[in-house]
Amino acid sequence: MSDSALVGILPEKVRKDTKKAPASESAFVGGLPESLRPPSLIEGKVTPGSLDDQVLAFPGKRPPRAWFIAIAITTTLLLLGASMFCYTIYKGIGVWGNTSPVFWAFDIINFVFWVGIGHAGTLISAILFMFRMRWRNAIARFAEAMTIFAVICAGIFPALHTGRPWLDFFLFPYPNQRALWPNFRSPLLWDVFAISTYFSVSLMFWYLGLVPDIASMRDRTKSKLRKTIYTILAVGWRGAASHWRHYEKAYLLLAGLATGLVLSVHSVVSFDFATSIVPAWHMTIFPPYFVAGAIFAGFAMVVIVLVVVRETMQIKNLITDYHLDVMNKVILAMSCLMGYSYFMEGATAWYSQNEYIIHAFKNIISGTYGWAGWLTISCNILIPQLLWFKKCRTSYFWMILVSIAVTIGMWFERFVIIVISLHQDYLPSSWRIYRPTLVDFSILLGSFGLFFTLVLLFARVLPVIATSEVKSMLPGAQPKRGGHHE
């Protein structure tokens, strides 16, 4: 049957059916219940011109005092971390708390933590784009930037964890005189490929989206230096129809590539653990569970940063209460998935009737590190349940509280997975308690310093909102009817 035959002429019965449908949803709005009303993605009167003035002008202005205070704090942390980073290279990783049998500790915890934070950006920019979720348009740029900064933070740790970072190029497989070849069966090597692919695709995706906005800034700026820099970065963008055609095609392709990456990157990270035969590491649910956890932690971080950004940069009309509401719903959904995974892990441990697995899981909720297990469960599963209430999803106090809890909880989740599972191996005589050192803590703080320094610099020099994507939602921008997502 051909498609034209399918569309065909409307038979009488169906024509009657569709006539019976409400003439338009506006006919209902008077009587339409509050919760069904289409959300407002842009508040107040916004025109393409006013949007440019609002978003693109910001990088030219002198930043507020708070910005200087914030960057002073974050660079201090960054310097602390950098100095301890250098100290580690100078003295060797013996300055960390890692001992036998806890050979992996803060280094890998921080690595997994930061890779996870990056996932929100990719999910928002790629998967939500595929799902035609238009609320993503206003927040995609910022979230993508956070992805890149988070992956930069993540990359530091395995590089240092190798112990001799000057030999890290050994990780890359290329024909060499050393006659050394990495082990392709090792998930640690898969990580090298997964993370570097992830970083390159995210960077390209982010930069591609930035090009039209950089071109607008090039045209607006008065400063000569800025004009030169923006001109180079805008790669000759003039906004011609052919430019847009290529842009749209490239954007869709990169979104498709990045969609796979959302799932693959953290799955590969989870393989680092799950391919082993360490009890509580070898769990088949690890790949999707790590992905859910990554999106969870990433969204929490995006909420924390966006709340600050929309307040200080006066873009509350573009990042509305609705945006925060939906993001909190995503956090809640991910929290439920995490709850499912935790439950399945615990239940399967019992179901397996394998004494080693049962022992490993008992260690999580009792024993020396029992507090860490309970902290993880409380922060990741119990506290986010507050988001079932609309009041909590729209109040700064509650959403920040939940997001901070999630950030702490997700860091401790990796602590639980790594340290608790390792500190008691198959040989009881070698069991040992792990204690992190000041150097460990300093490098962790330093990574937060690096992340937030990059975020602050980004907000200072580049447009934080993709203006062309928001313009596509302004009235009259769409051939039929703009506004809400389909």
């Binding site: 169906v14 449908a21 069904l36 595929m130 799955s267 999707p288 439920c336 009817r481």
Partner: protein, 383 residues
């Protein structure tokens, strides 16, 4: 599924009755094991399509999707398969002492099974099954009966209630599908465990329901019903099928790869049973049918909205889901892959019954949820 639906039901009734006779003969001639394995296969198959359809409906309410409103009645009607499958499940409880080693008295002597004997025992197994059936029927009543009533009442309050119930349904759905996976499938190999197994069955369930929905939409369009459903709507269905085909492969690969890599005796038996004794052919076919064929058939943009292509892929997808369930359930018998007159009889009886039911179900309510306040917006949806 519905494209083989003939104009007159007499053929279907004949097939069902003939199949029924073969089914009875199976019990007598081929033995209870062969009978019950087929019975469980058909229960799981039909149940996953039914509950997956309900998941599609609830998902639309959850995310306030508009594009899918014109086709929502189709999965709503397919979800009513949960009604006839309920007695099938209750009768299937009689299979537990036959095919579930954990429910037999000698399980006490097995160290692993003794530790979870209560969980595997027939009484607790039955309680769980009755519970998931009740929960499924309750969700069906809330989402589907309410929606059909809205056709007449035009009450937007139903949309509010459905939107509120949808997140709760997701929790129930996770519970239901996980229990079906662990009880009805993995329960027959009680020493084996894999905590991703619930997710695996979920994807299969969602995909089979998507395929059934696509096929039913195309069938209805060929009958000049649902004419306002356009390529744009079909495209979205095709895209979902494509995306979740990849997701299925991801989950299936994750489970296989991790078990292969670790090579632990607790786990590898599952795959050993499915890679030897003739089963390797089924395993490889499954990878081809469930991933390679739909992946390449739906790769291009045009293929995702082409009704002819979607028809073929939908049929192939349902076939792949059947093969998947066969691959999960039949190796329990301990003989090679069997397909003979008992399987044909069961297929005749259950397929015939399902088509008869769907034939009837396709007349319930209007073809589109005309009481939905946003139907117009869904009809105007364009890519």
């Amino acid at each position: 599924m519905t494209d083989t639906n003939s104009k007159s039901p007499s053929l279907l009734i004949t097939a069902t009755v003939l199949g029924g006779l073969g089914v009875l003969l199976t019990y007598v001639k081929a033995g209870p094991e062969r009978f019950w394995i087929n019975w469980i296969f058909w229960f799981v198959l039909v149940f996953t399509v039914g509950i997956g359809s309900l998941f599609i409906v609830a998902l639309q309410h959850l995310v306030s999707a508009r594009w899918s409103i014109p086709i929502r009645r189709v999965p709503e009607r397919l979800a009513t398969l949960l009604l006839p499958v309920t007695p099938v499940a209750l009768i299937g409880l009689a299979a537990v002492p036959v095919l579930f080693p954990g429910a037999r008295p000698e399980a006490i002597h097995n160290k692993i099974l003794a530790g979870k004997a209560f969980w595997l025992s027939l009484p607790f197994f039955s309680v769980r099954t009755v519970l998931i059936l009740c929960l499924s029927l309750m969700a069906l009543a809330i989402l589907v009966r309410g929606s059909m009533r809205q056709d007449k009442s035009r009450d937007p309050q139903f949309s509010v209630r459905a939107k509120r119930f949808a997140p709760l349904f997701m929790v129930l759905f996770a519970f239901i599908v996980t229990l079906v996976a662990f009880d009805w499938i993995a329960g027959m190999v009680p020493e084996w465990y894999s905590d991703i197994f619930g997710v695996y069955l979920f994807v299969g369930s969602f995909l089979s329901a998507l395929a059934s929905t696509t096929l039913a939409v195309i069938y209805l369009k060929s009958q000049s019903r649902l004419t306002d459903v356009r390529r744009d709507h079909l495209y979205s269905l095709g895209t979902f099928t494509f995306a979740f085909t990849v997701f299925w492969s991801y989950i299936a690969f994750a489970q296989y790869m991790l078990m292969w890599y670790a090579n632990l005796p607790d786990e590898v038996n599952w795959y050993r049973d499915r890679l030897h004794g003739g089963w390797h052919v089924v395993t490889v076919s499954l990878a081809i049918a469930h991933f390679i064929i739909p992946f390449f058939a739906l790769s291009t943009r045009d293929a995702k909205s082409n009704p002819k292509r979607l028809l073929k892929v939908g049929l192939a997808m349902l076939g792949a889901h059947m093969l998947d369930m066969y691959w999960l359930i039949f190796p329990v018998l301990g003989i090679g892959p069997v397909f003979s007159w008992p399987e044909v009889s069961f297929a005749l009886m259950f397929l015939g019954g399902c088509f008869l039911w769907i034939r009837k179900a396709l007349t319930w309510g209007e073809d589109m949820p005309i009481g939905d306040p946003f139907l117009r917006e869904g009809l105007e949806f364009h890519l």
